[in-house]
Subunit: 353 residues, 2 copies
């Protein structure tokens, strides 16, 4: 080991879900949207000013920010954009979780929260979900340095009703509360309506799921002007130009096509509701997901075995080898055709002894 | 002030150079390339798989990394990519400047270094440039937590010869040394040839200047496998998917078109050399820039006055209201036509009493 290594920040690196290069697989492992982006995105790309790429993009990302602001009926000053919700959340952790007391989040949750806490040296305490994988709101009613949770939760898919979300916020007005709504478009009521009531509430969203743009890396946050200003100041100190021109142009087009958004999310929700019946009939149980995935466990077959068998058959799902959830699979809702193939495989496989 | 604000990280936000929305101006204020991206970039964009944007991009950014690696004759494991060199540098500060001793950089230099040091709570000490704005290499021969400097330096444009760069590295083998080569393609010899000799040397580059892709936000670093692994681990902990699909595709196309790169940088260098003669004739003095800008001061007219007059005339240049350099203007090298208009204006303006 070189002497220079003594000053190096070492971390346990996050391992992203596999992005296999094979094209013939059914990819239900990273909660991507099974439908392509809006046709308006294609049009916007064709019209992009390529000569203009020699210049820096607009650091305020105004085209994109305005489109998002109009979606939510908010002024631009209440919208922050970043390179996927991971960038938005990382900046929010860095900006808002800067105290000495531990921040609180669920024990079973988005796997980046503890990674960011570690990298930024933020103390944290996990609050266990109950036996049916629900967040216990009273667990967040204690001294802390901040609160963050996804709603619907990942990877369980379970939704916390808006009154319970508000209860957590109301009990935590001395810290920043982040509600990570990556999946809210697939069910449930957003907490965005509460940002004018609670100055300390940050609601985080993404274009990666419901807007079919995971490949473009667009996330955003909604909050009070004060909160957004603090976040922007840190972001400008970090990298003034995070959103490239293509993300600005395609993101704007996707945000403005509400009809396509409504149509595709309705299709995914319908497929998910059918999937619940199919999985129940196949002997699986699961929390009542309001997201674009199901988090399932089988009555007799171990998840690790099913994961391997599915992969062998060219169907990729997600398996987390972690306490409490190592007998579960997270299965993204695909197209109806993809799901039919999955059911067909499972029916046949589960009949074998 | 809300009680929740006590945990907020507050910073003095960096103010990026103006990106005016008017189209009729001559924009010489942010060191962009005056020439459009390679025609291969246009072709690559037209062939982009838009349906595929529903999926996450390759977290390893392999297409882009391979293209950059082949440019430098290095294996992929010695290349790290990020959202502009600002992202690469910020990640490098976070990863490598994690000790208690102050890091060292010049007093007149890229204005983000002290901003990152502040946001990450890294102690630092500035080393003054000499009276002719040159880095004094002996100043870096003292105990420190790391070293970073641009070469050519910004905003002076002055180049440190490779033997002096190596001298600084050789005297600092117990810390990480970052050589920020944003402008090296416009003159001077890269330190990239030294990375196999010094395991602790990180060389940072960008597509924003010499590759006409500021709008796409692509930066990269070259270093030993060990250094790149440390950097990647922190990056994956922060945001696994920083490079969107468009950046991967267009960046690859730009990297592979060496002929266009050589042609456009030769034109910029030729224009810069003519500019040196013109500015000298107009009564300006400046360090011998090897970058795509000149950093000039006039024998009789204050920089602030010239800045305002140029802006009034629709010619944007950069003025830093900072100690030692508040009588200087940083002027990006534009096309020959743009530069002619600048000279014409200055000739006329400087004749007025």
């Amino acid at each position: 080991m070189g002497k220079w290594e003594k000053n190096v920040r070492t971390v346990v690196p996050y391992v992203p879900g596999e992005q296999p290069k094979r094209r013939d697989i059914i990819k239900l492992n990273t909660n991507e949207n099974p439908y392509p982006p809006s046709p308006k995105v294609t049009e916007a790309l064709a019209q992009m000013n390529i000569d203009g790429l020699r210049k820096y993009p607009d650091p305020a990302a105004e085209r994109l920010v305005s489109a998002i602001a109009s979606l939510h009926g908010l002024p631009n000053e209440q919208v922050f954009v970043g390179v996927g919700s991971d960038d938005v959340l990382a900046m929010a952790f860095l900006t808002f979780f800067n105290g000495d007391k531990p921040i609180l989040f669920p024990d079973i949750t988005y796997s980046f929260y503890d990674v960011w806490a570690d990298v930024f040296r933020i103390p944290y305490e996990c609050q266990p979900l109950d036996a049916s994988f629900q967040i216990v709101k009273e667990d967040y009613d204690k001294e802390n340095g901040g609160v963050v949770f996804p709603n619907p939760n990942a990877p369980t898919g379970a939704l916390l009703p808006l009154d319970a979300v508000e209860d957590i916020i109301a009990h935590n007005q001395d810290v920043v509360v982040i509600v990570d709504e990556a999946y809210i478009d697939f069910g449930g009521i957003t907490a965005a309506g509460l940002i004018d009531k609670y100055e300390n509430l940050l609601v985080v969203r993404t274009f990666s799921k419901s807007r079919s743009l995971a490949g473009m890396r667009i996330g955003y946050a909604l909050g009070s002007r004060k909160l957004i200003k603090y976040l922007s100041d840190v972001k400008y100190s970090f990298n003034s130009y995070t959103m490239n021109e293509a993300a600005l142009v395609l993101g704007e087009a996707a945000a403005l096509d509400r009809a396509y958004f409504e149509e595709t999310r309705a299709r995914i929700i319908a497929t998910r509701e059918r999937a619940k019946k199919e999985f129940a009939a196949l002997g699986f149980s699961f929390a009542d997901s309001q997201a674009n995935f199901l988090f399932v466990t089988h009555e007799s077959r171990p998840a690790a075995e099913l994961f391997a068998a599915l992969k062998e058959a060219g169907i990729y799902v997600r398996y987390f080898k972690k306490p409490r959830i190592d007998n579960y699979l997270r299965i993204t809702i695909g197209t109806d055709e993809e799901m039919e193939e999955l059911y067909r495989f499972l029916r046949e496989y589960l009949l074998q002894i």
